[in-house]
Amino acid sequence: MKRFVIFLLAALLIGGSGAWAEEKILMMATTTSTDDTGLLDYLAPEFQKDTGIVLRWVATGTGKALKLGENCDADVLLVHAPDAEEKFVAAGFGINRREIMYNDFVIIGPADDPAGIRGQGVGVALAAIKSKTAVFVSRGDKSGTHQKELELWQAAGLPIPDKEAWYVQTGQGMLATINLAAERNGYTMTDRGSYIKYEANLNGNPPLKILVEMDAVLLNQYSVIAVNPARCPKAQLELATAFSDWMAGERGQGLIGGFKLLEKQLFTPNAQ
Amino acid sequence: MKPPLYTIRSLVHAYDGGPPVLAIERLSVAAGSILGLVGPNGSGKSTLLKLLAFVEKPTRGEIRFKDRPAAPFSDAVRFQVTLLTQEPYLMRRSVHANVAYGLKLRGRSRDCRPQVAAALSLVGLAAERFADRKWYQLSGGEAQRVSLAARLALQPEALLLDEPTASVDAASAELIKAAVIRARDQWGTTLVIASHDRQWLYEICDDSLHLFRGRILESGADNLLFGPWQPGPSGFWHKPLAGGGVLRVPPPPDDQAVGVLDTRAVSLTAPGAASPQGLNTLDGVVSRLVLEKNTRRIVATISVGLLALTVKLDPERLQALHLYPGKAVRIHFAPQAVAWCDPA
């Protein structure tokens, strides 16, 4: 018994420290969309091959990803909420913000389109949903997608809904939110990648269709930010910079452009 | 002369700051003797046994073992004294493991099978049938006997038994009696045994101790008279008895007080004999006659309605009265012979 306990304690210690000893490990906090679509699973092995750095990531909402950076629990961030990111950098939590790629958002809804928004601009569409009090499902989780949605209501000159009966806030991930919208026969806003996944899950015949797309305000910019080592002594700026350079470089940009989900390109590289 | 095995001085015991349940000024138990404890439920018998077994520490006073102070877990007594409680607990192991447990603690577990078998046979259990049974495969009486075997296997210097015959049949009670006597004769074990079965107890005891409300009653004080009492004429108090007759007693401290009647103050006559002036005169029937082992006197129990009184007689007196169980007799005793117990 005593030996068993000692063994377990030893295993615990080795498990705790040993794995970190040799390799160079870059800890990244990112958003669910990059993970859910499989983009990171596709990029990480290539990045390791080129640089010898192991990329590990925690996928969460942009809000929490920024919080992890603020708490020094990550070395680098890959997020998509430009306003919040600028505040983050201005507050001294992050440095070297660099735009990497974008994807776009779409507004989806039931095929019979009860609010009649098909083919409209975003502002008109949202106003129609509000006036018809059609169900609109929101992430409601401070994620990049949620923040984008809030910007759209503001840009359309509409008050941000909150307690209205037709405005449903899930507090969950993108695909859970889409599924909920389908259950409620409502509208929602999603990134295109998540929608493609959703479409594929239902064998190409989903109840919710893309109704509004290609509006300039729907573009979704992703950036890499290094966590500021001046504030976080343990933050590995060198590795974070290597990642940022690789993503913005020819190799990373090419891979991003070539990433396809179900034959469709998801992200457009646009590093300067 | 050998020193006494136990010496008790000014002992008081109470549970959790409650009222004292046991108060013994002085008591010694001779080595190699068999002492019987009698008394009604709650009289302190089990408490006294637990204290003698050093399971608990007395609230006040001391118990010396072989003239040395001793306390729970002390090496002087740990392997010398053992107690069989009224409701023995069998550990969740086999019968063999239960009996061998104490031997194991004493470092005598090597090849203990024969010892365990011998202990089991002392209580009438065949080792080949019982040793490998699990604790839940035993009847109440078998569990009691296995527990006793677990104590006998230790060949202790002091063996304390609390109601050992309470849940066993007559044949087992005889076996236990034989085992107890054997323990004393072969190993010189000192025994203290509490039992309600007075006949069984008187047959094996050298001496008996009467406990009531946590106190030792004087020897011979076997009869307890319970209230309620009512004031009566000429300064005495009364209690009407079921089946007629009245008990007269001196004024009690309160109407529920318990009186103690010395057996030596009770005289026995033929039915219909003249009643001396001023004495209690009660008609009853002999219900039991038992030989007291060490005095060769006869202990007679007389039923008067629901009351049972004990009288001790010489064999000659028994002859003269032609006593046998079922015979009607008349008993006399002076009301002043009744003493009152101190309220505990």
């Binding site: 306990v5 705790g16 859910d36 629990d73 996944k197 | 637990k50 877990f73 607990y89 839940y136």
Partner: protein, 228 residues
Amino acid sequence: MDFLLGGFVTAIQLLLTGDSETYSAVFATVRVSGYSMAASLALGVPGGFFLGHFDFRGKRQVRLVVDTLLALPTVLIGLLVYAFLSQRGPLGEWGLLFTLPGIAIGQTFLALPVVVALTATAVEAMDRHLRTTLITLGVSRTQLLLSILWEGRLGILAAAATAYGRVTTEVGVSMMVGGNIKWLTRTMTTAIALETNKGQFAMGVALGLVLMAIAFVVNFSVFFLRRR
């Protein structure tokens, strides 16, 4: 509804084909629950024994606190442990955030009240004659405690099984403290949460079935040990 049947089929496929992602999550769960069970039993059994066996001042208050902690929400534990293990937290130096031992610390807080409370109950429920019996047979103080513990082994086993159930099925701590990092801290439950979030219900059901299978094996073993 289809995804339930689909999940069942997927579960069988994943297990039979030795799917490395699935097995990585299974092993993460087994390892982390092994750590947390070892720690919570090592601390909780003596603690519960002390609470159940001894009388001391304030015992009822301690009991009340322990019983209240039984209702600790896992996300709250996750949040608190994160706060301590974060680089900005007091224990950030240990580098345990986003590691299995980090999750195990949180799960230990989750399992500890269960082990303490159920062990205390088991010890309290033991026959009051046991103690007397052991003393009369000549135990030393240490032997007394060990023997009482051994007599209560079935109750303690039940406590361990209940705690194990709580630890293997929780999501809050694993997600908050572990970060659901693939190949590293992704456990069965965080994998289920992730797959469900991704809308891959069949995969979620499959992993759930695997988790149930593990729980079944554990309880089946306990069931056999308990058969007196």
